[in-house]
């Protein structure tokens, strides 16, 4: 999600002063025992719907500092005031009063593996995911397992000052950094779903790589999007210190098992001068999920931000990774691939705002629509006055399979500096009879031929992915393609 047609700048221009670490002194011991560490003992599920009391309860149970509660309440006020976006997919079916905004699982409340729907299990089997991971993905495993993942990685980098943990832990252990950056790139009032996330966020990743440090292996959060507990409203914050290099990879390797139908994450990336931050995600949601995610980065002088974004599954996805180029010579790169199958509406895109001289951006978007699926590209390139020498290139390609599939392209341009260079190129192609005939005439089945055409189409994105993600994406596409012809 993003307030895309409104091209106003977010409050990303300057970073707020570092605040002193807010202690936990204002929380009573009584509240603290409901804290994050005891999910087995303290089960909690907020009642349906969203009220001030629920937001306060979430914050209290997490033992958060007062300033975070303030942010949450501000988010709630804005959420209640803001209308649904009037563009893109129809979101009027979302019943905000039916949703549980916070669920803290425990063993008593967890589902057993036997309760996991057969089609989800089958998916896991076909992906070849080991039993333990399957259980985790299905929302059966304990939430603690996510932290175990982080802790293993943490040991490797802790000496260099790298922080890689979940947001709740970061707020407890590094409150000063969280406070400095929280909501600075995506203010609570940015859009209705960013406001909602601010009010009820839970979980998400926190990455901080200090100045001059290069983390040369991808920081991976593999199995942590778990809709059953913390996945619905995760909040992720990634900070590359001056001259730092990092690659954060996040993925669900299977359709995320989701008992609720709304996923509204917020991802804020801060690339300080000279840093290089790459964020890669492959998401594959079950087909009853509204996936309304706000992702935005600020790139300062000489910094590079790259979004590599794969979107499969979901009922509706609205996601437009953005980069605000705030310092001279900053560079943005967005590669996205989306696949809309029967009944799905995937509205994806990218946004590059050039607010400084000599900034460059490149967007490559590939969408596939199939059956009754609908995929769209919605993008904005904005060049502000004074951003001399800015260069932007947008390329979006759509592949349509079948007579009923649909593809739309909405490229917005807002250029207020004459000394800049914008290129836009869009192609739409149908998986043609001629291509299918050609491949089948050489011995490939029609299904295999269609898959080969689709894989070829997304190849420019796939080759940018780490090996295991490339393999996963190809497998996921293969599964989406099953039974597509005939």
């Amino acid at each position: 999600m993003d307030n895309l047609p409104n091209t106003g700048r977010p409050g990303a221009g300057t970073l707020p002063d570092t605040a002193p670490p807010p202690g936990l002194g204002d929380e009573s011991r009584d509240e603290y025992r409901y804290g994050f560490h005891d999910p087995e003992e303290y089960v909690y599920r907020a009642p349906r719907g969203l009220t001030k009391e629920i937001v306060e309860e979430i914050s209290r149970r997490k033992g958060e500092p007062a300033w975070m509660l303030e942010k949450r309440l501000e988010g709630l006020r804005l959420f209640q005031r803001k209308p649904l976006p009037r563009w893109g997919a129809d979101l009027s079916d979302i019943d905000f009063d039916r949703i549980h905004y916070y669920i803290k699982p425990s063993e008593g409340e967890e589902r057993s593996w036997d309760d996991v729907p057969a089609n989800i299990k089958k998916t896991f089997d076909r992906l070849g995911i080991p039993e333990a991971e399957k259980k985790w993905l299905a929302g059966v495993g304990a939430q603690y397992e996510s932290e175990t993942v982080y802790h293993n990685l943490k040991r490797e980098w802790v000496e260099k000052g790298v922080v890689f943990t979940d947001m709740d832990t970061a707020l407890r252990e590094r409150p000063e950094i969280v406070k400095q950056f929280f909501g600075t790139i995506i203010p609570a009032g940015d859009n209705k779903f960013a406001a909602l996330n601010t009010a009820v966020w839970s979980g998400g990743s926190f990455v901080y790589v200090p100045a001059g440090v290069t983390v040369d292996i991808p920081l991976q959060a593999y199995f942590r999007i778990n809709a059953r507990d913390m996945g619905q409203f995760e909040r992720t914050m990634i900070i590359g210190g001056p001259g730092a290099t990092l690659h954060y990879v996040e993925g669900c390797t299977a359709p995320t098992y989701s008992s609720d139908s709304l996923h509204a994450a917020v991802v804020e990336v801060i690339a300080l001068p000279g840093s290089r931050v790459r964020y890669t995600t492959i998401q594959n949601w079950s087909h009853n999920v509204y996936n309304l995610v706000t992702k935005r980065a600020a790139a300062y002088e000489g910094a590079t931000v790259e979004w590599v974004d794969g979107n499969l599954g979901s009922k509706v996805t609205m996601k437009y990774p953005s980069v605000y180029l705030l310092g001279r010579g900053a560079h943005a790169e967005v590669l996205s691939v989306a696949m809309a199958n029967d009944g799905q509406y995937i509205d994806a895109g990218a946004k590059a705002v050039h607010a400084a001289p000599d900034t460059t951006s490149s967007v490559v978007s590939k969408s596939i629509s199939k059956g009754t699926g609908r995929a769209g590209y919605r993008g904005l390139v904005q060049v502000e006055e004074g951003a001399t020498g800015a260069k932007a290139a947008v390329r979006c390609d759509a592949l349509i399979m079948g007579e009923k599939a649909r593809s739309d392209t909405y490229p917005y341009m807002d250029v207020r500096e004459e000394e800049s260079n914008i290129e836009h190129e869009a192609t739409v192609s149908r998986v043609g009879e001629e291509q299918l005939f050609y491949l089948t005439s050489r011995g490939l089945s029609e299904e295999e031929a269609a898959l080969m055409i689709v894989n070829g189409f997304i190849e420019p994105i796939v080759k940018e992915l780490p090996m295991e993600y490339a393999v996963e994406l190809n497998r996921l596409i293969e599964m989406e393609m099953e039974g597509s012809v005939g």
Partner: protein, 256 residues
């Protein structure tokens, strides 16, 4: 070669093809034996390409009557991939471009689907490179996306590379000689000739004698108005054609 049992032949028997209700091919019969070269000539629009596409099972050319068999296998009942597995190959006049699919990957998959020997990666790459070299194509073509950005001549040569790597029993080559310079033409003819010597039967659709000079046909058929109007062994018809045009061959004005 010529005495191979009939069940191994490619037999077209009174084949009709309608496109959008219009009869384009009107009762074509011919038999190609393993190791034979047949040339199919005739003016544009007489149904040669329609015949080729119908034979391979193109969905827009599926309104057919009659029979087309390889041995006992009735091709007209099969999907294109099944026809390929039955041993048929069509080198297309305008091969489709498939972005993002490297030629070598595609050919390995196709070989696997056709049940051909599963060559190891290294073995396959060596073979691929040598086939490309034979057609005067750089080894880099193995990694290039299938036909994408190939020149007309490169597409034709790549079709012959595919033909040789997919080892069909019978091949229909639709204007495989168009857009080729003389060196490429000789290479293509040699590449096809080697396959024929190894037992592949081919039906060459062409306008020009020059390919046939390098690929001497056992039989030349002239098609006009959707029918085969003349058939004759050896080069005689091709020579007459080159000298006097289609009128000289058919003895009347040819119709499309």
């Amino acid at each position: 070669m010529k005495n191979t049992p009939t069940e191994k032949n490619l037999v077209l028997d009174n084949l009709y093809v309608r496109v959008e209700g219009k009869r384009i091919v009107r009762g074509v019969s011919l038999t190609v034996r393993p190791g034979e070269i047949h040339a199919l000539m005739g003016p544009n629009g007489t149904g040669k390409s329609s015949l080729a596409l119908a034979l391979m099972g193109h969905p827009r050319y599926d309104d057919v009557e009659g029979s087309a068999r390889i041995g006992d296998t009735e091709l007209l009942d099969l999907n294109p991939d099944e026809r390929a597995r039955a041993g048929l190959f069509l080198a297309m006049q305008a091969p489709a471009e498939i972005p993002g699919v490297p030629m070598a990957d595609f050919l390995r998959t196709a070989r696997r689907e056709l049940g051909l020997e599963d060559l190891s990666g290294m073995k396959f790459n060596r073979r691929m490179k040598s086939e490309l070299g034979l057609m005067g194509l750089d080894g880099a073509f193995a990694g290039r996306y299938l036909n994408e950005g190939f020149s007309g001549g490169e597409k034709k040569r790549a079709e012959v590379v595919q033909l040789r790597l997919l080892e069909p029993k019978f091949a229909v080559l639709d204007e495989i000689d168009s857009g080729l310079d003389i060196d490429a033409l000789v290479a293509v003819a040699r590449g096809i000739g080697e396959l024929v010597a190894a037992g592949t039967g081919v039906l060459v659709i062409t306008h020009y004698r020059r390919l046939l000079d390098h690929l001497p046909p056992d039989m030349v058929h002239i098609m006009s108005g959707g029918e085969i109007v003349r058939s004759s062994p050896g080069m005689e018809l091709a020579n007459t054609l080159e000298a006097g045009g289609y009128e000289a061959v058919v003895g009347r004005e040819v119709t499309a």
